[in-house]
């Protein structure tokens, strides 16, 4: 059985279980479509078949969303949404049983916390992004409200996608905090904070925004950083223009609805022409109404683009981290070199480079031999430390380059596959839209010909 079969089973099972309103049922079907889309494009398949990842052993889904109210940190009432994470061990299912999944509720901020933890703990990994915090690139009919049911639904799907990507990553999937996040509802936050990642998180943010000059970065990483900037800029532009295109398309379709009304009115004053006009009018109404579904499907394409817009940021962070480490290495190295020079000067008395000590010596006379000995000793210590540091930094740098490059390659392949599939599904949508258009106008034409 393929992964998508499980997920479908799960969603349908959830559906039958809950006795909520009809539109929740419909929402699940939207999700079903989305998931089929996603699944049958086999990225999930691929993810599942990655060796020894969590997803192989555990079935994960974000099945539902619910509104809750509670008091926030400043003791004010707030409304927020929680998402139901369901998990089932895969071997339990393959045995032919259908056990109920374990589940817990999490809100968006907890997902954010998880991701921040992963970013800090695995800086060499291009960490999968979360769905957007606020609705952006919105065209006029789409709501920018975070509590809007369509937004919540799309976010639910995006959160599930995030979890699936993380759980299928060869490195990230082994993380204990991740496992804890998926399986134990209470006190997870405390556990995360106990790891002390918060401190690293703060310094990470600072480092990422700092400006510094690296003398010898790995060229591949520099190129990747340029690429990530371009990807970010281009996907952002594409999303903006696409939203405007969607807006305009909506307008074109909806105005045709007016034909429906006027043909109906006109048919009332005609004899022979009446029937043809009236039925053509109905087709015009159908045409106008069809744009809602068309554009809802297109939002899926926008979501796929958005994922890579945010992925670009993650890629950039990995490249910047390399630069930072390289910079630290270079700083440590040049520090060491200058300390060695100082030692040489002291030892030989030769002034190689201008130094303050050299100047003061000239002005106020040489220092006493004991002082020199003391300083030399200190320098020796510092040089030994420095050499250790340089050794550490060098290996850190090498390891980082190695690990990060592996993940960047993985990311590149994933990106090429995913975006290609996104383009294919976009083309499929366009083809379907054209076929529907031909159908409607052909029907209308038949009615006109009967006039």
């Amino acid at each position: 059985m393929r992964c998508c079969d499980y997920t479908i089973q799960l969603i349908i099972a959830t559906n039958i279980k809950n006795k909520k309103l009809a539109n929740q049922f419909n929402r699940s079907f939207v999700a079903l479509r989305y998931t089929i889309h996603y699944c049958c494009t086999s990225s999930i398949q691929r993810m599942t078949h990655q060796s020894s990842t969590l997803l192989r052993r555990l079935e994960i889904s974000v099945a539902e969303a619910e509104k809750r109210t509670g008091k926030n940190t400043v003791n004010m009432q707030e409304t927020f949404t929680v998402y139901l994470i369901e998990t089932r061990p895969i071997d339990a299912i393959t045995d032919g049983h259908n056990p109920a999944p374990d589940s817990l509720w999490r809100r968006y901020s907890e997902f954010e916390l998880l991701r921040n933890y992963l970013l800090v703990t695995y800086p060499f990994i291009v960490v999968p992004p979360l769905p957007e915090k606020r609705a952006e690139f919105v065209w006029h009919k789409l709501s920018a409200d975070n509590l809007d049911p369509d937004f919540v639904e799309r976010r639910r799907v995006g959160l599930e996608n995030f979890l699936l990507r993380v759980a299928s990553h060869s490195v990230l999937s082994n993380d204990k905090i991740l496992y804890h996040f998926l399986t134990e509802e209470h006190e997870w936050k405390e556990v995360v904070y106990e790891t002390g990642f918060q401190a690293k998180a703060d310094s990470r943010i600072k480092a990422l925004s700092a400006t510094f000059r690296v003398k010898n970065p790995d060229k591949r990483f520099t190129e990747m950083r340029h690429y990530s900037d371009e990807l970010q800029s281009i996907t952002s532009q594409l999303l903006r223009v696409r939203a405007r295109v969607a807006d305009r398309l909506y307008g074109v379709y909806k105005v045709h609805g007016n034909y429906g009304r006027v043909f109906s009115e006109w048919s009332a004053i005609e004899k022979e022409m009446g029937d043809g006009l009236q039925s053509a009018g109905h087709h015009m109404d159908a045409y106008a109404a069809s744009v809602d579904d068309i554009l809802e499907e297109e939002e899926h394409y926008a979501d796929q683009l958005k994922e890579y817009l945010f992925y670009a940021e993650a890629l950039r962070a990995v490249c910047r981290k390399h630069e930072l480490i390289q910079y630290e290495l270079e700083t440590a190295s040049s520090d060491l070199v200058s300390k060695k020079h100082q030692r040489e000067e002291l030892a030989t008395g030769m002034v190689r480079t201008f130094s303050f000590k050299g100047m003061t010596n000239k002005l106020f006379g040489q220092e006493a031999p004991e002082q020199r000995e003391a300083r030399l000793g200190l320098l020796e210590e510092q040089i030994v430390e420095g050499e250790e540091t340089v050794k550490e930094k060098t290996s850190e740098c090498q390891e980082y380059v190695k690990d990060a490059w592996v993940d960047i390659q993985r990311f590149k392949e994933q990106k090429d596959r995913d975006l290609r599939e996104a383009l294919v599904s976009y083309a499929v949508m366009q083809i379907s839209m054209c076929k529907k258009g031909i159908q409607v106008w052909t029907n209308a034409k038949e009615c006109f010909q009967k006039m």
Binding site: I234, V255, E265, I269, M273, A427, I431, C434, I438
Partner: protein
């Protein structure tokens, strides 16, 4: 009664039944189930000369038997497809050319005629006319055939700064409208025999004829302009016509607005599409494996933009002008209705006057011929108008069927072009190595 009697009707040779309009029109006869029996027709033969129900060769039409009346009906309603065999006058307006002189610049059109009618000296004519000439023809027709509905001309005045009078689109739109105008006149059983039309189609130099015509025909037009009589009540059937025209005009206006709005929305959509495609091209430049698919999408969107451009152009050129022409048509029809009202008003007023005076007379004198003449005029006008109304309704149905079918066709072609573009880019997008592509093509 009217000064215009196409005396040629009887001698024009075999005329198909289609071109003889029954005074009551196909519709009413349909509801009556049978055509009005001949006696009525016989009474008014002298006044409805041109509506003689007997075939040109003298054979009376059997109006009493249902079989023949229904077949007559059928053929009257088959106005739609006048095949070449039954028509004997063909006209075309084409070949616009620009003329530049010191005084002015203007466009002339070739008017080509092919006919077997004996009213024409030659079987073929080819003359050049300008808009002014068409305008002259129309006013001549209006004056000389006041009881008939004259088809409209495209609008005369064009704001010089706003529209380019010499642009290809404008000239072509106008040519189509002029061609339609002339064809409608040539298809009319009465108007097509008008001497002015004859002159228009055949005369080498129309200006001279125009001058002459003006002088001799000046007096006529006065007759049908209001003689100051006010109609008390429009008979029901004509009132119904008036009501219909009012509502129809309203619908036309709404459709025109909707069509314009759609064109506007489509143009704005086009603007965004034109910005959308190049972004894919830019993106393709920074990608490797994705370069080909992205460029494919860009090319596809560009094709769709082109198709949309064509759609909006076609709708502007083909759809809107016809709608506007029908608004003018409706105006013409309304004015004919008004003229009819005036004629009836005059008759009623005179009838009243006579009745009034009758009381003063001792002998029951015959109704004065003046009043009789008025009565004839009313009946004539009513008959002509009803016949023209039916013809107009039929033509309207055909014209709108054609117009709306054309609109559907334009949209279908647009979507077909877009579909072809997307289908052709699909193989580019699918990675031929991947199992998905193979399974996708299997799925289809």
């Amino acid at each position: 009664m009217s000064t215009v009697t196409p005396k040629s009707l009887a001698s024009s040779g075999q005329k198909p039944i289609q071109e003889i309009c029954h005074p009551l029109g196909a519709e009413e006869a349909a509801s009556a189930g049978v055509l009005t029996p001949s006696p009525d027709v016989g009474n008014t033969t002298s006044s409805i000369g041109e509506k003689d129900l007997s075939l040109p060769n003298g054979t009376p039409v059997e109006t009493s038997s249902p079989a023949s009346s229904s077949s007559l009906l059928n053929r009257l309603q088959l106005d739609d497809d006048l095949d070449g065999e039954t028509r004997d006058l063909f006209v075309t307006v084409d070949d616009p050319r620009k003329h530049v002189s010191t005084m002015e610049t203007y466009i002339t059109y070739r008017v080509a005629t092919k006919t077997t009618r004996v009213e024409f000296d030659l079987p073929e004519y080819s003359v050049r006319r300008r808009y002014q000439d068409f305008d002259w023809l129309r006013s001549r027709l209006e004056d000389s055939q006041p009881t008939h509905l004259i088809p409209p001309l495209p609008e005369k005045f064009v704001m010089k700064g706003v529209v380019d009078r010499f642009s290809e689109e404008f000239v072509e739109t106008r040519r189509k409208a002029l061609d339609k105008f002339l064809k409608r006149v040539a298809d009319h059983p009465v108007l097509s025999f008008n001497e002015h039309l004859n002159a228009f189609l055949s005369a080498k130099d129309l200006n001279k004829r125009q001058g002459l015509a003006l002088l001799t025909k000046m007096g006529e037009s006065v007759k049908y302009v209001t003689g100051g009589y006010k109609l008390r009540a429009r008979p029901m059937e004509f009132a119904a016509m008036g009501d219909y025209l009012d509502m129809f005009t309203q619908k036309l206006g709404t459709i025109d607005r909707i069509a314009q709005r759609i064109i506007k929305e489509q143009s704005e959509y086009l603007v965004e599409l034109r910005e959308y495609a190049p972004v894919y091209t830019t993106w393709a430049a920074s990608e490797a494996a994705l370069q080909e698919p992205l460029e494919g999408v860009a090319g596809c969107l560009a094709s769709c933009s082109g198709a949309l451009d064509e759609l909006t152009e076609d709708m502007s050129e083909d759809f809107l002008p016809v709608l506007r022409e029908y608004v003018l048509y409706v105006e013409s029809m309304k004015s004919v209705l008004k003229k009819r009202d005036n004629v009836q008003a005059e008759y009623e007023a005179k009838l009243e006057a006579v009745a009034f005076r009758k009381e003063e007379r001792t002998t029951a004198a015959a109704v004065p011929t003046d009043v009789e003449k008025c009565q004839d005029r009313v009946e004539c006008f009513n008959a002509d108008l009803k016949a023209d109304w039916d013809r107009w309704q039929n033509n309207k149905r055909q014209d709108f069927r054609q117009l709306l079918t054309g609109m559907a066709d334009h949209n279908i072609h647009y979507y077909e072009k877009c579909l072809a573009a997307w289908e052709s880019v699909m193989p580019l997008l699918q990675d031929p190595q991947s199992p998905e592509a193979r399974s996708d093509s299997e799925k289809d």
